[in-house]
């Protein structure tokens, strides 16, 4: 079969990272945030990052700035100024209405190559992680994913804190090159209080992207409202892990959730077993939740999971292994055979007259 094989694109000996020479400017350096928008609305994580950027900027000797790509999104620039951006690079073009991976990566990498920001932060969203990786490779710089904290060390480098393997472990990374790039989990930093009176410098960046240059073309975007109680907004979350296989599966989680009017979530192994869809995964590469009550059933408490709910009010855990790390992050816990404990727990809550709240 003859398939676009001889265009040489695939096997050119040009490594990424050689294409864009990174240049540092004499003007004050900048700390960039990619302002991610969907249909003109900024995602909260972009504002969360601006709040953090403002906090980090003095130690880096840098100015917080945002990069906004889209069509007819100028209004969002005002919101970015209000939340801490001193400068907004705006690229407004009809072809940028939806996220177009080729054009977005080209523009962000080219702009970074020209302006030489010290740091680039992106939300660790499905689009942000892809864009960050492409831009970092093109600039030949390092990138960390799913950061849960950021700070500046004595050498003035950005320390990127990510959950490690093993109980309660955090790993701190620095990037040896500039720009220092990281994606940050949505929900770990608060949205700063906006000041609508704040203004900044709006830099309009011309855009010469052509439709033919899009090798991957986003044709449409469909947004779906999550069914049932949304994980992020729920007052109570019940989550299950791999240990539930000993109790015959995931049903006890659903039953307890119904009883408590809670949202259902789970660990990576629970997703891998097909008990819950990917979008209900809690943890490092899943959702971050901070409900009033978090209930964990049959999860040992790997750091990749616990990272997703450490901000909860009260954490209640049930597992059969007394040495499981989940008990180190729990307020209340039960150690015991899940087959015995879970039916008793459900029974006890019923008996005590705990019922789901009436539907609205």
């Amino acid at each position: 079969m003859s398939v676009a094989r001889d265009d040489g694109k695939f096997c050119q000996p040009t490594g990424a990272g050689n294409r864009i020479a990174f240049r540092r400017q004499n003007s004050p350096s900048e700390l960039w945030v990619w302002a991610e928008q969907r249909r003109g609305r900024l995602l909260p994580v972009s504002l969360e990052l601006l709040g953090k950027a403002r906090e980090l900027a003095p130690a880096l000797g840098a100015v917080p700035a945002a990069v906004l790509l889209g069509q007819g999104v100028e209004e969002a620039a005002g919101e970015l100024f209000a939340h801490g951006a001193e400068k907004v690079y705006l690229v407004d073009h009809p072809l940028l209405r939806l996220y177009q991976s080729d054009a977005y990566a080209d523009l962000l990498a080219r702009l970074a190559g020209e302006r030489g920001p010290e740091v680039i932060l992106l939300g660790a969203t499905t689009l942000g992680r892809e864009l960050a990786a492409r831009v970092a490779a093109r600039l030949g710089t390092g990138l960390t994913a799913h950061c849960v904290d950021l700070y500046v060390n004595e050498e003035g480098r950005l320390v990127q804190v990510v959950p490690g393997l093993g109980r309660g472990t955090l790993w701190e990374y620095v990037c040896l090159r500039n720009p220092q790039m990281a994606t940050v989990k949505p929900g770990v930093f608060p949205v700063p209080k906006g000041d609508p009176g704040r203004r900044g410098e709006l830099v309009r960046v011309p855009c010469d992207v052509r439709e033919e240059s899009l090798r991957a073309r986003t044709l449409e975007m469909a947004e779906e409202e999550p069914a049932g109680v949304s994980l992020e907004a729920a007052e109570v979350v019940v989550a299950g892990g791999w240990g539930l296989h000993a109790a015959g599966g995931f049903e006890p989680v659903r039953e307890l959730a119904r009883l408590l009017g809670a949202a259902v979530g789970g660990t990576r192994p629970a997703v891998d077993r097909g008990w819950i869809p990917e979008e209900l995964m809690i943890g490092q590469s899943g959702k971050t939740v901070s409900p009033r009550l978090f209930v964990s059933l049959g999860a040992s408490g790997a750091m990749h999971f616990t990272t997703g709910f450490l901000g909860s009010g009260v954490i209640f855990a049930v597992d059969q292994n007394p040495g499981a790390p989940i008990f180190e992050v729990a307020d209340v816990g039960i150690v015991g055979d899940l087959r015995a404990v879970l039916p008793l727990l459900i029974e006890e809550l019923r008996k005590r007259g705990i019922h789901p709240p009436p539907p609205n």
């Binding site: 892809e130 492409r134 994913a145 090798r215 209640f316």
Partner: protein, 248 residues
């Protein structure tokens, strides 16, 4: 269609009979085999790692991959995602022209999801990540449904390209006895840095722009009131305590 699938070994042993290939990479391999069945061509499984990682390749061959290539060199150790992507790129370059690279959206351990898009940049091809549905209206064009947090995007991509898949895109086949027997005959090609013509300074820890500078433990200021013993009592005490804390 010439297809390369990047597979990664997972730490096995937690569950007897568990696959040595990472869960998402199994979906990538299945997708590759289906495209080959439809359009003809060849599927090559590629991995980078230390010797035990070869197990993932044996399994890929048993499932139906035609070739297996193992990038194995002590100097590859300690690679971050950029150095990993660079090494995989040199492996694919040595293999010759190809139309499609398939990989899992993220590994089961690091879960960064970065290697796929970074590899696409080295290759100079477009990429689509988080793909939960893939159609091939023509052998030089794919139509992908890419998942968002709440929703999806439809993306059309011209080949050559890289596609990173998520769970649910397909049901991976199980290796058959015939497959396992055939795998033994196919054999695994092993390449080190010299075989790839790759400057050892650009791989492994030395070729990685990110550095792990500190590991620390977090202290959790939690109550840690853990009840054990007879389940009836433990449950009663725990529920009573949760009530006192005002969350039930």
């Amino acid at each position: 269609m010439e297809i390369v699938v990047c597979v990664r070994r997972v730490r096995d042993g937690a569950e007897p009979g568990r696959s040595a290939i990472g869960p998402l990479e199994r979906h990538a391999l299945e997708e590759a085999l289906r495209l080959k069945e439809r359009f003809g061509g060849r599927v090559t499984a590629l991995t980078m790692g230390s010797p035990p990682a070869g197990r993932a390749l044996e399994e890929a061959l048993a499932a139906g991959a035609d070739r297996a290539v193992f990038l194995c060199d002590a100097r590859f150790a300690g690679a971050d995602t950029l150095a990993t992507a660079r090494t995989l790129y040199y492996g694919i370059r040595r293999l010759g022209p190809c139309d499609l690279v398939l990989c899992g959206n993220e590994s089961a351990t690091g879960a960064t999801g970065q290697v796929g898009p970074q590899l696409a940049e080295f290759l100079g091809v477009p990429c689509v990540t988080h793909v939960r549905r893939l159609e091939a209206p023509a052998p030089d064009r794919l139509l992908a449904e890419r998942a968002l947090e709440h929703g999806h995007m439809k993306v059309e991509v011209r080949l050559p390209a890289l596609v990173a898949v998520v769970k649910g895109i397909n049901t991976p086949r199980l290796p058959t006895v015939w497959g396992i027997m055939a795998a033994a005959e196919k054999g695994i090609t092993v390449w080190n840095a010299e075989d790839l013509g790759l400057d050892p300074h650009l791989v492994g820890l030395e070729g990685s722009p990110t550095r792990l500078v500190r590991e620390r433990k977090t202290e959790f200021a939690r109550r840690k009131e853990i009840f054990s013993g007879p389940p009836e009592e433990a449950v009663k005490k725990a529920v009573a305590r949760l009530k006192e804390l005002g969350v039930l």
